[in-house]
């Protein structure tokens, strides 16, 4: 187990390195002087000269990278051109907003989708199965930004049950915060359920075919015990990996939902910064999301042996 964990941790290091090179290099690919890109068009000559010096622009590129990396490690991601705020503070603040929405949505999706997927697999080709498969394929095909818009139209504008514009943080006002979260979370849940149901169904089907399920039945266990004690845990492995991927993908993909419901989250920050050519923020967001994605997948992998102890063996 220890060996498995350490091998997995070590294997993340090269990826980490390449990711940071990629994020550094990407911004350098933009035509123009990096210093003026970072400081914006309105910066005066002195500030530019100072920035060129601190960024080491007179040095060779590898040195510039090391300087940048050194700053990053110390938590210095630069400052936003628009409001002068430190990028790290901005990113963390926005991330908290996105993360609470995403985590609630994915958590709910798993709670709904996994039992549905297993039930569909248990009665494969039955009426329930066909309904679940058809519904999940349908949900999967509806883009979140349109689904969100339709939910907004129905519950916010036509029925007037929920507030259409604005956002209140849960930390400031828990009740109002939750109310503002209902529609975006519902949008995300409907979409993710479609994806997770299909995976849970497929992996349960694979497991139900195996001899140890028949063995469990041969021991005289009831169908529900077979499904819960033997099938569920083994079938959850692939779904677990998928959850990691979904969490990571939502960090980028949540921008559309945040746009629909005007939520000041991380996704919106990235898009706005690209609009505003606020490259320090773009760079900071990219790095932050990539690292979070790596971290989430690392944690998912490290917990995987809970569902399948075989992976720790070589």
């Amino acid at each position: 187990m220890l060996k498995f964990a350490s091998t997995r941790l070590l294997s993340a290091i090269p990826t980490l390195f390449i990711v940071s090179v990629a994020v550094f290099g990407l911004i350098r690919l933009i035509p123009g002087d990096p210093a003026s890109l970072m400081l914006g068009d309105l910066a005066d000559a002195d500030a530019l000269a100072a920035a060129r010096k601190t960024m080491g622009l007179d040095q060779p590129v590898p040195v510039q990278f090391l300087i940048w990396l050194g700053n990053v490690v110390q938590g210095d991601l630069g400052r936003s051109v628009l409001n002068g705020q430190p990028v790290l503070d901005l990113v963390l603040h926005r991330f908290a907003t996105s993360a609470q929405m995403v985590l609630i949505a994915v958590g709910l999706s798993v709670l709904i989708a996994v039992p549905l997927g297993m039930a569909a697999a248990w009665r494969q080709n039955g009426g329930l199965d066909l309904t679940i498969v058809a519904l999940s394929t349908l949900l999967l095909s509806v883009p979140t930004f349109w689904l969100g818009l339709m939910i907004l139209l129905a519950f916010g504008l036509k029925l007037g049950w929920l507030p259409v514009l604005g956002y209140v943080s849960i930390a400031d006002n828990p009740v109002a915060g939750l109310i503002y979260l209902v529609m975006p979370v519902l949008t995300l849940v409907l979409h993710e359920v479609g994806i997770i149901v299909r995976m849970a169904r497929a992996s349960t089907l694979d497991v139900l075919r195996l001899d140890y399920i028949t063995h469990a039945r041969a021991k005289g266990m009831s169908e529900s015990a077979v499904l819960l004690h033997h099938a569920a845990r083994n079938a959850f492995g692939p779904t677990w990996t998928l959850i990691g991927l979904i969490l990571g993908n939502l960090l980028g993909g949540v921008a559309v939902v945040e746009t629909v419901f005007t939520i000041p989250g991380l996704g919106r920050l990235i898009v706005d910064s690209i609009y505003a050519r606020d490259y320090a923020v773009v760079q900071g967001c990219l790095l932050f999301v990539a690292l979070t994605y790596l971290l989430v997948n690392l944690v998912v992998d490290l917990l995987y042996p809970l569902f399948d102890p075989r992976v720790t063996a070589e």
């Binding site: 140890y212 266990m221 399948d308």
Partner: protein
């Protein structure tokens, strides 16, 4: 006669509803308490589905369309879910074929064994534990306490099959159903596990229904045999009778298909070898952690081997003995780390001129008839490809040779434009043989070439191989774990173990007077067969020396 334990009466099974395709038709048999009965059949005989339907464990798509199954006088088919569950596990136990998938990978052995006890017996936790430890000890698990908290993947296949046996026998059922219980295991382990199973059912007075494709094995351990073919019972009766006086043509064919010792070819012992290896070694990198220094492990230790013109040399050994690696190293599929290969007296090295000559003159037949043919090519193209590098022959000549060789292996023109998936396993292996010999190679390596085939098909393919060898006179290195087949075909036998040769010699010498205990143990797992006028008679070699093999068996305990 007392009441039967199991009575199967006119059972028919169909796929996808009672009017669907029937896979089992009108099967009737019975099992008496404490009796040991074998169902023998080839693939597609329906034997597994019959066995599973006794516990109503057949896949949901397969339904009983007619007949009845009675267990201890009660119909299994009409039982309620609750009554059925009370019978399963407690009165009926089952051992599956594949030890790798029949235990839940994410649950400890202890918990898996505890489940039926919790369901069926009124015992407290301590009594359950004691009972489980006791049965684990009885099936020969060396560290039962450790096994309780271990996961299945930490055990070897043989050990897992012992654990399966423990699980099935935990509640002392009155019938144990064993579906190909040892087919996935090595010969030595196979015998140990079987004998353990027999000991246990005998001492518990449990009846045993053993499903197998292996007629000699069933004949050895069972009181009665039921022979099935294509969903029907063709014949049943006491072992001795069926074997010596079979009443049905199919049973006779099965018995005729059992390998018997064939005549030796006349090979000039002084002839220069066609192929010779000296001091051949193969190393592979042992799996190690990211930080551990890389270590090399030897798969072959300095092998010397020669094959003379027209000779069939068999390479035998358990899995992991290195026999396949040796074959692949000789073929050039695996790089040798040391040693030399000579072909027709000349040393062959990769990229040399001699290598090119060798490459076209040394062909191979693989084990898996599903994997060795390109699924996207027609049979004509598959065989024709082997002539691609023949510069002398014209297109028309090549085409003629492809048709000719296919005819020789028993596939007429209709097969030329078919794809591999449209052929049966036996037909595919015929194509593989045709491809290997169409270029008239001097040397053919056959790696478990008939192991994946059914008994009757295997006999025909073996015969074909022998015929082709006689016609074209190629030498052959025949790699097999199946000593019966080797006895029929080989002129010389080489026994391998742990990457080294433990014994080699003339076929008769090795089979009749083996020099090493290991060879003796391997041989004692298979019968000697003699054909009688109507059937065959089976006898067992070295009847008293089985223990020598058992103690040497490479059964791995907890790692």
């Amino acid at each position: 006669m007392s009441q039967s334990l199991v009575e199967v009466d006119g059972l028919s099974l169909a796929v996808g509803g009672p009017s669907g395709h029937h896979i089992v038709r009108n099967v009737s048999f019975h099992v008496q308490p404490g009796e040991i009965v074998g169902i023998v059949g080839e693939s597609g005989s329906g034997k597994t589905m019959v066995a599973r339907s006794l516990m109503r464990l057949q896949p949901p798509a397969i339904v009983v369309s007619a007949g009845d199954i009675r267990f201890e006088g009660r119909s299994v088919l009409t039982m309620t879910g609750k009554a059925l569950r009370a019978v399963r596990g407690a009165r009926l136990g089952m051992v599956f074929q594949e030890p790798m998938t029949s235990l839940n990978p994410s649950m400890t052995i202890g918990r898996q064994l505890e489940e039926p006890l919790k369901l069926q017996a009124r015992l407290d936790a301590a009594a359950r534990r004691a009972h489980i430890l006791d049965i684990l000890r009885r099936v020969g698990i060396r560290d039962p306490e450790g096994a309780l908290v271990a996961f299945p993947h930490q055990f070897s296949g043989g050990m897992r099959q012992r654990i399966m046996l423990a699980s099935a026998m935990l509640l002392k059922p009155s019938l144990l159903i064993a579906d190909e219980p040892t087919t996935a295991l090595d010969a030595l382990v196979q015998r140990e596990v079987l004998e353990l199973m027999l000991d246990m059912v005998r001492s518990e007075k449990t009846a045993l229904l053993m499903i197998s494709h292996d007629l000699p094995m069933v004949a050895r351990y069972c009181d009665r045999i039921i022979v099935m073919r294509q969903g029907e019972v063709v014949e049943q009766g006491p072992v001795a009778e069926i074997i010596s006086r079979p009443g049905h043509d199919y049973t006779r064919e099965l018995l005729q298909s059992m390998p018997v010792r064939g005549p030796l070819r006349s090979v000039d012992p002084a002839a220069k070898p066609v192929m010779e290896v000296r001091g051949l070694e193969v190393e592979y990198r042992a799996k190690a952690g990211l930080l551990a220094p890389k270590t090399m492990k030897k798969a072959l230790h300095g092998i010397d081997l020669a094959v003379r013109p027209g000779e069939i040399v068999a390479l035998v050994g358990a899995s992991g003995s290195g026999k396949t690696t040796l074959g692949r190293a000789i073929a050039g599929l695996v790089d040798a780390s040391a040693g030399r290969i000579f072909f027709a007296g000349e040393e062959v090295k990769p990229d040399s001129q001699a290598w090119r000559h060798y490459r076209l003159n040394c062909q191979m037949i693989f084990q898996d008839p599903f994997g060795s043919l390109d699924p996207r090519m027609k049979i004509r193209e598959i065989v024709g490809e082997a002539l691609r590098h023949d510069q002398q022959a014209s297109r028309a000549e090549k085409e003629q040779r492809v048709r000719g060789i296919l005819e020789e292996v028993g596939l007429d023109e209709r097969y030329l434009n078919r794809y591999p998936h449209e052929l049966s396993g036996g037909q595919r292996q015929r194509v593989a043989i045709a491809r290997a010999v169409v270029g008239r190679p001097q040397f053919v390596i056959a790696d478990e070439a008939v192991s994946a085939l059914d008994v009757t098909v295997r006999a025909k393919v073996l015969q074909l191989l022998a015929d082709l060898q006689r016609r074209y006179g190629f030498s052959c290195l025949f790699i097999s774990h199946d000593l019966g087949v080797v006895e029929q075909l080989a002129d010389r036998v080489v026994v391998m173990r742990d990457g080294a040769i433990v014994e080699q010699g003339n076929r008769d010498a090795v089979f009749d007077t083996p020099q090493s205990d290991y060879t003796r143990a391997l041989l004692s797992a298979i019968p000697t067969l003699t054909r009688t006028e109507t059937g065959v008679s089976l006898a067992w070699r070295f009847a008293n020396s089985g223990e020598a093999g058992a103690s040497e068996a490479p059964a791995k305990a907890l790692q």
